[in-house]
Amino acid sequence: MGIAQFINPYVLYALLVLGAAGVGLAMPRRGTTPQIVGALVGALAFGLILLFMGLKAASTEGGVSNLPNIYFYIFSLIALGGALRVITHPKPVYGALYFILTVIASAGLFLILSAEFMAFALVIVYAGAILITYLFVIMLATQAPEEGQDEVLADYDVSAREPIAASVVGFLLIAVLTTMMFRGTSQLPAPAPVNQNELLASMPRKVERALLTTGKIAEGDKFESLDAAANVIIIKKADGTLLTIPQTDWPEEMAVTNPEALGFNLLREHPGTIEIAGVILLMAMLGAVVLSRKQVQLDEDAKAARVTQLAHLDPGNEPGVQSPLELGSPTSNPTGGAAS
């Protein structure tokens, strides 16, 4: 049992070394770099890991039926590739766009995992809201290229910081994490079957509507109760008599949808956490407002840099005459910004 149940550990570790080398190569560097090669090697490594896991799975009891379907492979490769691109692309804007790709691929994975609500929430919140904010900030915080000039990448974007060491640490972590997870996963208890009748009992309107639309009951009949033990729904008809509907007669429309189940889970199991999450969001909002309203000044180094920059751009202007401060913080000082 353990790791060997899923993949040959030596193969895994060897492929992880390969992956580390690939990611390390793929990181941005000054000058010409084998970024593409590195990315390909990294992708190859991950692909091979999945391949070997599939091979192993096919050889164990249950065969290929244990394997996730084909969409899993598609989405996960897109997600990982996007992620790799996020961290290797020197331009932040592209990084953010690749991140959207990753998010969408992840949403696909969520769908496969029958988490529809979360899949769409992810796309809406992440791709729609958060990433857009990122893009705004990236635009705000990047120097626009001058007319006729190529975009100059900031120095800190061009070169990664100690990519080798980071890759080694990262892949060491993967090795250990996968080892741990395989070990743990192999010892997980079999999942217990779930009876969602209780959820249905909490939704009398839904049950009535479903039964009504399928014609099982008439207008005016009321849901009385759901006997979870006998798996029957008891309906109180308009004339007062009780009608028992066994499970086999339940219409498909009555099935509990993912958002419904998730809603019940959230509000029943985690009501306090929701409150806390709300407070966190509120505080974040307030914090963001307070922080961005704050007046700041350039510090000494930045001032000096700004002055030389201005002098360089407009030799006719004495740098000391026009206040660099006003130029430096247009948002914080609207009048100053307007003047410049």
Binding site: F171, L177, P193, S329
Partner: protein, 119 residues
């Protein structure tokens, strides 16, 4: 996602459990994504990219949680992703506000510019 194979109607939208091997595949993906995020965080100097990397790690955690929830047929996994999403949003708001503030001061997004915050 094979709805027609469901045995009971109540479980129509909640498929039967997946195997450990399937779960392992998702976990590998999650781990890989997490590590990529980590490596990015360690190597990139741009504050915004670093924050993007943390978002990647959140993403990875989310995948793992939903996969586990799926394995256990428990919706709490998805619930937690809701919270993770919330925290990520809050974090993004605060972090980006801070980044803007820092950028205004130094005209740079490099994390190394702020060494002197060490105290």
């Amino acid at each position: 996602m094979n709805v027609t194979t469901l045995t009971t109607l109540a479980q129509a939208n909640f498929p039967e459990a997946m195997s450990q091997i399937t779960l392992a595949h998702y976990l590998v993906i999650s781990t890989a994504m997490f590590t990529i995020g980590l490596v990015g965080f360690l190597t990139r100097r741009n504050l915004i990219i670093m924050f993007l990397c943390t978002e990647l790690m959140f993403q990875a955690a989310g995948i793992a949680m939903i996969a586990f929830g799926r394995y256990h047929l428990d919706l709490s996994g998805q619930s937690f992703v809701v919270f993770v999403l919330t925290v990520a949003a809050a974090e993004a708001a605060m972090a980006l506000a801070l980044v803007v503030l820092l950028f205004r001061r130094k005209e740079s997004l490099s994390a190394e510019e702020w060494k002197d915050l060490q105290g």
